[in-house]
Each structure stands twice: as C-alpha cells, then as structure tokens.
C-alpha cells in the first residue's frame, strides 16, 4: 500500500514534488515565525477566501499559455461583468429586496454570457483575423475597460443586495463556499485539459500548431473554445469580486494579470505552449498565498512583495533552465559512453 503510494509519487512530475515541498516548507516556516497569528482560524479562513480571485485568473492564463497564447483581458472582463450586473441590480431589485435572489440568478446568466462573448471576440481576433494574442487581448483589454468606463463614467458600482454578500461569505463545513466552488471548477478544468479530447487538442496546438492541423484538429475551433473558456471563468470571477468586495469598478485589480502570469510560470505552465500540468498551478497558487500572507504579517509593503515575486520568477526560470541543460548533458555523455562500448551504435 505504502509502496504503491510512494511509487505513484515518484511517477509524478518533478514540478509537482518541488512545488509541494515548497508549499509545505513555507507553511512550516510561517508557523514557526508567526504561528500564533498564522494558524488562527480567522487567518486560515481569509487565506482560503483570498485564493479564489487569483486562482480563477490563473486558470484563464493557464489554458491561454497551453494554447501558446495569452489573455491580458481577463481582469477587465471580470470588471465589466461586475459593472453590468451592478447596473442591472440597481435598476431592477425592489427596495424590499424580495426579488433579489431571482435577479442574482439572472446576473449569473449575464456573467456567463458576457464572459463567453468577450472570449469569443478575443478568439475571433486571434484565430480568424490572425492578430497575435498579446496584441489582440491588449486591444480588447482597453475596449472592455473602456465600455466599463463609459457605463459608469469611471465611478464604482456598489451596494449590492444582501443576498449576494451573504452568498459571498457563506461557509460549508467551516470552509468558505466560494473556495469550495473554486476548487470544483479547478478540478473540472484539470479534467477538461488533461482528460478530454478538447484538452489534448489544445495542448497539441500549443505544442505544434501545424502538426495538429495535419492531424485533423480544427485549430480555429480550439482557439475559439479556449478563449471562450477563459472569458467564462473571468466572467464568473466578476461575480466573485462583486460578492467579496461589494463593488465593481472598471480599473479594479489590474495587477491580478501579472500575478496570474507569474502563478502559471511558477506552476510550470510554459508560455511557449503545450507544456505543463494544470494541477501544479494550484500548488504554486497556495505557495504564493502563504508567502503573500506571510509578507502581510511581516508588514512587507505590497510593492516589495511584487518585487520579491519577480525575483522568485526569475530564479525559478533559471533553475528550470539549469535542470534542462544538465539533463541534456547527462544524456549526451551517456550516448558517447554507450557508443564506445557498442561501436555498432543503437
């Protein structure tokens, strides 16, 4: 039994073990440094809450990376969703709040719709028009933010119905409901990417788009689907932001994009496409969350925190690079030795 488990862990990729070890190490470190505050239920609870927004955005970036693309527009999609929903709620919810639940369900539908439409636009610009993902989503980022600005004149929407805020703060078995829902979505995405035909096609396209085309993969359809999924998740994240912060603003949380890019690279998803395991993103997310909370407790300013994250990224890229080089060298040496003992070659 135990051997079986050990065997399985050995089979797991190096990245997974690495990240798991880092997370555990950070957890122990924080417990040792500030155990009294770090392990307090309120702190654990807030960490679980804080996982959700960056986590959803990281999921968006993960699939974009796997397709050899990028989606810079995700945060603005979320904000747009919040703004439209805010206006909708402000105009339709009765003063006594009796229809709030119904309207919130409508909002959910609106979120999904807006997310999918925004993603579709990204996908069309990239797959049909042929614009590079980084440029296309830079453009739509401005467009979506612009629409939000026009709708709100730059002000924030807020004062959402109580039901939404209650939903945002709900717990099931002591765990925040939003976190549970996030984990369910995350698991679903892992399954979609690594276990379904679409997911494999996505990674093949990212790995070699010409070969995937020759294999009968409809690259256009895969790209459209990918950015629509990304948009959908960003849209749902818009609902989460509404529930958590009780406001929606066109330029909220712009730095989330950097954080998501970072989380995915640390999680071993290659921006060059077709390489990486989505489940590792959860681990890098957790590691960064522990680190972020730790910095908070040690009173490190958010700017310095971002800077240290930047360092981490460079170091992790460096380590990967060295590991890759070492691996190639070992293989070469083995080949030379092999040939010397066996002159006939393989």
């Amino acid at each position: 039994m135990i051997e079986n488990i050990l065997g399985r862990i050995k089979k797991m990729d190096r990245k997974f073990t690495q990240l798991a070890m880092i997370s555990v190490f950070l957890f122990v470190l924080m417990t040792a440094l500030r155990g009294d505050r770090f392990l307090r239920p309120a702190n654990i609870d807030s960490m679980l809450f804080q996982l959700v927004e960056p986590g959803l955005f990281a999921m968006c970036i993960a699939i974009a990376y796997l397709s050899k693309g990028i989606d810079l527009s995700i945060v603005t999609i979320a904000n747009l969703v919040g703004i439209v929903n805010g206006i909708l709620l402000r105009r339709t919810v009765l003063p006594d709040g009796s229809n709030a639940t119904a309207m919130l369900l409508a909002c959910l539908a609106v979120s999904v719709l807006i997310g999918l439409l925004c993603g579709l636009l990204n996908g069309v610009l990239i797959a049909k028009v042929g614009i590079f993902p980084i440029l296309a989503t830079l453009g739509t980022q401005n467009v979506f933010m612009g629409i939000g600005m026009i709708l709100t004149r730059g002000r924030a929407e807020g004062n959402f119905p109580k039901a939404l805020l209650e939903f945002g703060n709900a717990h099931v078995g002591g765990v925040p409901l939003l976190t549970i829902l996030f984990l369910v979505m995350f698991a679903a995405l892992c399954a979609v990417v690594h276990k379904t035909p679409y997911g494999l096609k996505l990674q093949w396209m990212g790995s070699n788009s010409k070969a995937s085309w020759y294999s009968g993969v409809d690259n256009v359809k895969v790209t459209l689907t990918t950015y629509m999924i990304s948009g959908l998740m960003a849209g749902l994240c818009g609902m989460v932001i509404m529930a958590r912060s009780n406001s929606a603003k066109a330029d909220y949380g712009v730095s989330y994009v950097f954080q998501a890019l970072l989380t995915c690279v640390l999680g071993g998803i290659s921006p060059l496409g077709g390489r990486g395991k989505v489940y590792n993103v959860l681990l890098s997310l957790i590691a960064l969350q522990i680190l972020g909370t730790g910095f908070n407790m040690l009173r490190v300013s958010p700017l310095i925190r971002d800077s240290i994250f930047g360092f981490l990224l460079v170091i992790s890229i460096l380590l990967d690079y060295i590991a890759e080089k070492r691996r190639a060298e070992i293989l070469n040496r083995r080949a030379v030795n092999k040939n010397e003992t066996d002159p006939a070659g393989q």
Binding site: A191, K195, T196, P197, L200, K201, Q203, W204, S207, N208, K210, A211, S212, W213, Y214, S215, G216, V217, D218, G274, R275, A328, L331, N332, R333, R334, A335, V336, K338, N339, G345, Q346
Partner: protein, 504 residues
C-alpha cells in the same frame, strides 16, 4: 601538397542522447573540390556546423590554415575564411538583397558604419560574378527559392573565403541553374579556393569533384580521389549494405480502383493529372522539386483542394476540400517534414499515437481513460518494431527513425484506406528505412492503397509496383516498375520540360 585549408581530427558530437559524430578526421586542401556524401542523418550537417563554429564539438581538434582552434566560434571560423551556404540559405527575410550580401562582409571586416551605396555596389558586383540578375533593393521575402540561393552564394563569395561549403546546393534549383553553379565553383577552384560540396547525385560528383568523402552513422567510411572510386559503389558505402530488399510484388486482386483521379488541376501547380490506385497497390509519384508532386499529394489530402477534375473513391465521385473530408474518406497523409508537421515532440507517445483518432477515444462524460493510451501505444510499438517504453514517454526521447514510426503509427491507428506518404524515409537511418519499407509492403498486402512520393529511385524500384513521373505539373510517364530501369526513371525526372518564361 600544400598545407591543408582545414584539418579536423577526432571530432565527436552528441545531441540529447544521440551520437551524431564519431571520431571524424578530415583535411581539405586549397583549390580542391571535395564531395561530402552520406544519407540524411549520417552526421554531415553536424560536421559542417562544427567546422563553421556554430556547434562546439564534444571532443577533437580543428585547425584552419595551420592555426589550432581549441574552441572554434562562428566569428573565428568566418574570419579564418570558412563560408557555409546552408540548405536553408540562412538569409534574412526582413532585409534587402544588398544588405544580405554585404552584412556578413561588414561583420568580418568590422566596418561599423553602413553605406547603402557601397552595399548596393558590392551586391551588384557579387551577383554579376555568378551571373545572377536580381534587384539589389528587393526584400528577400519576395524572392523565389532559387533566387534566395543565389543571394546566399553571392554572400559567400563576396568575402575572402578559402573554403566554401555548400550543403546540397542543387536540390532546389533547375538543371540550367546547376550548370551556372558549376561554372561558379570552377571559378572558385581556379582562384585556389577549396569547395566542400554536399551531394548524392553521381553525375554531379563526377562532373565537379576531385575527392569524395562518404559518411555513415556518424563515421567516415570512404575518403578517396573520385578518379579511383567506383561511383556505382556509392550506395553501398552510404547505406553500409548491399541493396538486399526484395522488390515489392503486387498481386492483382481485381476489383475496382480505390482511388481514381481524373484530369485534376490546380492553377500554377499541376494540370490534367490522371491516375488510379487499386487496393494493395503501392504507387510511387516522383519528379523534380516544383514538378507538382507534393502539391498533388497535398490536394488529395484536402490541404489545397483541386480546382478542376474529379476524384473518385471506390468509384464514387467525392469532393475533398478539407482535411476533414480526407479523414471521412479514409485518406491519411504522412507529411514530408515529420518533426514540423507530424510530431508533437514534447507530448507523450500515447498522445502522439492517438492524435488522429482522439475524438473516438473519449468514454462516458467525454473523458479519456489512460488505459486506452496504454493499449494503443503497446499495440503500435509492437506492430512497428519499436523498443518498448512506457506510453508516457515524450516523443523527444526517441531517435529520428523511431519518431518516423510514431508518426506512421499515428496515421495507421486511424485505419486509412488510402495512405499517402511524402518522402517517408528522408532523414531516417538505414535500418529503420528498410523496416519502414517492410511495413509499407505488409500494409499493402493487407489491402491498403499506398501512394508514396519519393526522390529515391532505389526506393521507388524496390517498394512500388507502379510509378508516375511528373514534370512541370504534368504526368510524363506512368509505368510498371518491373519494366523500367533506374536510368530511365532518372532520365525522365530530369528531362528538361519547358518552363514559364523560358521560350526562346
């Protein structure tokens, strides 16, 4: 004899586990034209890259004009007078002709400031020297393949080269242009410049080379003056074996053809092409580069559909306008550039084998079970005689020949009725090559219709039962292979067909 221009000794090199060069010794003297031969993958390209300082060797010594270079870099190699014209020409698509020709000259001479008039003059002079008529201000992006090669040659001779290496310079150009190229090479020889010429074509070797060097599996196996060398033995030395393959015997089974092509045409590529393939046949299509053979194959796979004419499958007229149509009709296509167009290098064996049939592999809930990958990999590793490895192994862990088999297996897993193979054995080691031939023959005996595009006349004769020769977009010959000689095929391939704009 004079001091060698270049002398290498004991060169070794390996790439991610594959040893490509094994103790190579070689010397080239000034004014000498040396032919470097070997099958694709024998290591000659790596040797060239080491001589030009692009790769560093794992072991061995290099000396140029008596100077020893412990770790030769590209700039050192160029400054020492070594110029390489690569197969891909290595020209800059975003720069003009003049700049492409003059840039390396400026690097070598350390001319830090650019004078565009000088660039143009230099380029015109060099182009005139090789008799090329090109606009110096044109961007490379707009040039044809042959024109790009001319730019690459002009660029090499503009510098004071003492050794010019040409990596298969004649594969992409016409007979007439080859004559011009030979004149240029003779001119270089007269000036005392050594030329290393990579080619497999016997007549070319006899016409231009003084010495022949043959490599096989990373080793030098022949180094002899051309005059003393029995050129007929070249294939033996290159492959390391007498051609022992049993010719393919087609047993006519009767019945209607699987595929019939009638009067197919695509403007500028091919016209009035007709032929048919029966189940169990292996049809070879051959012709020079630009003869329309590759374009024809691609149009049968729906990549660039035919514009007029008919395609019938099992007697029924069928439209093949996309890869999807081709799939639906059981047509599979093995691309020429296998790494680039066929293989997902960093994905697993199981995924690669399943990539053409992935939609049919999903179980309940649309999820794929790992078990299916495992079964599929096991089956095709077995069928294709591959060394057993877990199905999760990335394709990059395999050698070139095995990667070829992975791509083959991926298409066979789709159970095609018609299989088009575009140059299936280019860049594959000898053992794998004959095994791939055996696999093809076995598949044909099982009733598959195979169309093989190939340049290799030996391969055509030993593995196909019928051959179609194309020239300038038209079929010029269709014949049974057991009634035709290699010479006849080669003559027909090279026959000068009237080309656009060459009427006198």
């Amino acid at each position: 004899m004079s001091e060698p221009v270049i002398e290498v000794a004991g060169i070794n090199k390996a790439f991610s586990g594959n040893r490509v060069l094994n103790n190579i010794d070689l010397a080239v003297h000034s004014g000498e034209v040396v032919c470097l031969c070997g099958e694709n993958g024998c290591g000659k390209s790596s040797l060239i890259k080491i001589i030009s300082g692009v790769y560093s060797s794992d072991a061995g010594s290099i000396s140029i004009k008596g100077v020893n270079y412990p770790s030769l870099t590209a700039p050192q190699s160029i400054n020492a007078g070594i110029q390489v014209i690569y197969q891909d020409f290595s020209v800059f698509r975003n720069l003009t002709v003049a700049e492409n020709i003059s840039l390396s000259y400026r690097v070598q001479k350390k001319k830090w400031f650019i004078n565009y008039d000088f660039n143009r003059a230099l380029a015109r002079k060099a182009l005139a020297l090789i008799g090329a008529n090109l606009d110096a201000d044109e961007e490379i992006e707009r040039l044809s393949v042959a024109e790009k090669q001319l730019v690459a040659i002009a660029r090499a001779i503009v510098q004071d080269a003492s050794l010019v290496i040409m990596d298969e310079p004649t594969t992409a150009i016409t007979q007439k242009e080859i004559e011009k190229l030979f004149a240029v090479i003779r001119g270089l020889k007269e000036k005392g410049i050594a030329v290393m010429f990579v080619s497999h074509k016997l007549d070319e070797i006899a016409a231009i080379c003084d010495r022949i060097v043959i490599m096989r599996n990373g080793k030098k196996v022949v180094d002899s003056p051309v005059a003393d060398f029995e050129t007929e033995r070249i294939a033996y030395y290159m492959t390391g074996q007498e051609v022992s393959e049993t010719p393919f015997e087609y047993i006519p089974a009767g019945g209607r053809p699987m595929l019939e092509v009638e009067n197919a045409a695509r403007s500028g590529e091919f016209e009035s092409v007709s032929f048919s393939v029966k189940p169990g046949e292996i049809l070879a299509i051959t012709g020079q580069l630009g003869s329309g053979r590759t374009e024809l194959a691609k149009s049968l796979f729906g990549l660039a559909p035919i514009q007029s004419g008919k395609i019938k499958i099992e007697g029924r007229e069928t439209r093949i306008a996309s890869i999807k149509d081709a799939f639906a009709n059981g047509i599979a296509y093995l691309p020429e550039d296998r790494l680039g167009e066929g293989l997902f290098l960093n994905r697993s064996l199981g995924e690669n084998f399943s990539s053409a049939i992935i939609d049919s592999m999903a179980g309940p809930l649309g999820l794929i079970r790992e078990k299916r990958f495992e079964e599929l990999s096991a089956r095709w590793m077995e069928e294709l005689n591959m060394s057993r490895k877990p199905y999760t192994t990335p394709a990059s862990d395999y050698s070139g020949g095995n990667q070829q088999r992975i791509v083959l297996g991926k298409w066979l897993a789709a159970r095609p009725r018609i299989f088009i193979l575009n140059c299936p054995t280019v860049g594959v080691d000898v053992k794998s090559k004959s095994e791939i031939h055996e696999i093809m023959k076995r598949l044909a005996r099982q009733g598959l219709s195979i169309i093989m595009i190939s340049d290799d006349i030996g391969e055509i004769i030993s593995t196909s039962n019928r051959v179609v020769i194309m020239n300038a977009g038209r079929v010029t010959l269709e014949a049974e292979t057991n009634g035709i000689t290699a010479d006849e095929i080669s003559r027909r391939i090279l026959a000068d067909a009237p080309r656009h704009g060459e009427t006198e």
